[in-house]
């Protein structure tokens, strides 16, 4: 009986801990305006998972893409997208907008 109770506590902990971890991820904002990322350099803490909010202020869609971060996400015009990033070792991680690769460029600096 007591053993089962302990197992239940373990189970609940396993289920609830990630949810608790989800709550306190630092949030960073990125804007897309006129096919440019602003800020074009985003500094984030190293070895920490962050929640990146990308707000596309253009009327046209953009695809946030990064080979270094292994991320790709279509963000429609006027929409806001959530992208989880990290934990990253210190370094530079370039990203770009696949629909406007010449202008839409930036990098995340993990430090």
């Amino acid at each position: 009986m007591r053993k089962t109770a302990i197992w239940w506590v373990y189970l609940m902990a396993i289920i609830l801990l990630p949810a608790a971890a989800l709550a306190d991820k630092p949030v960073f904002n990125l804007e897309i305006r006129e096919h440019l990322f602003s800020p074009s350099e985003l500094r984030i803490p190293a070895n920490t998972k962050i929640k990146l909010l990308v707000h596309n202020l253009d009327r046209t869609p953009e695809e946030f893409e990064s080979y270094e971060l292994n991320r790709e996400k279509v963000i429609l015009g006027g929409h806001k997208a959530v992208i989880f990033i990290g934990p990253l070792p210190p370094g530079d991680y370039p990203f770009f907008g696949e629909f406007n690769p010449k202008s839409a460029q930036g990098k995340i600096i993990s430090e």
């Binding site: 009327r59 080979y67 270094e68 991320r71 279509v74 963000i75 015009g77 959530v82 696949e98 690769p101």
Partner: protein, 268 residues
Amino acid sequence: MLLTSVVIIIREVLEAALLISILLSMCRQLSVSQAWFKWGVLAGLLGSVLYGSQMGRISQMWDGVGQELSDATIQVLIYFCLLYSCRKLLFHLHSPHSKDTVLLWVMAAAIALAVIREGSEIYIYLSAFQQSSESRMGLYSGSAIGLGIGFSFCALFYYWLLSFSSRRAVLLGCGLLTLVAGGMVLQGCKMLTQADWLPDGQTWDSSSLLPEDSLPGQLLYAMMGYEASPSPAQVAIYAAAILLMLASLLLSYWRGARSQSALTSDTE
């Protein structure tokens, strides 16, 4: 605009077209009906418009990771469709000319899903940027060039696979589809990592050896979902998916060969 369109369209078209050309050539080799193919593509095109036009709403679902979850679901479904199709096609190698409606449906579903995944992005891209008149010319000509290159590549691939004997072609096709299916799982895991459903990390980094944005990198990406710096969870699930498919196909091949030899010894 021109070059960007070419690159985007090739990237999207190659993946779905490769899958279609491998399945089609295997059917041709085994004299399995190819009529299902056009329905799969048609359903895929309709699905692309529907999925693409609802992308805004889908993205907002599940705390803003709806796009990732629906993409990952599509990719995992393609994996299972390919697993089933390969098993059945191997079976056909040993006992040809049996009609198999379920197999045709599953292959059509695999194609429809692959087209939806790639087509929806093309739909979003084209429908948004065709509104500005100065970029329209580059957009359309770029897309036409991209489509042309993508399809020519896959037509070549289709005929190359037809040049083998049917046994070799089916075995090679199954091997290639195992890589394609594994790539789907790998990319699906990437989406789940992005949605924070799987832990992130870096198992290795082969970007200096083979960058993802190089031509061979892009081809490998289209073929088997190549990733230069995959996370440990991605690698583990990928390995499990490939092993499961290989084991299942070997078992199916072995069973088919045994039942065939039993059949021939009966008739003797």
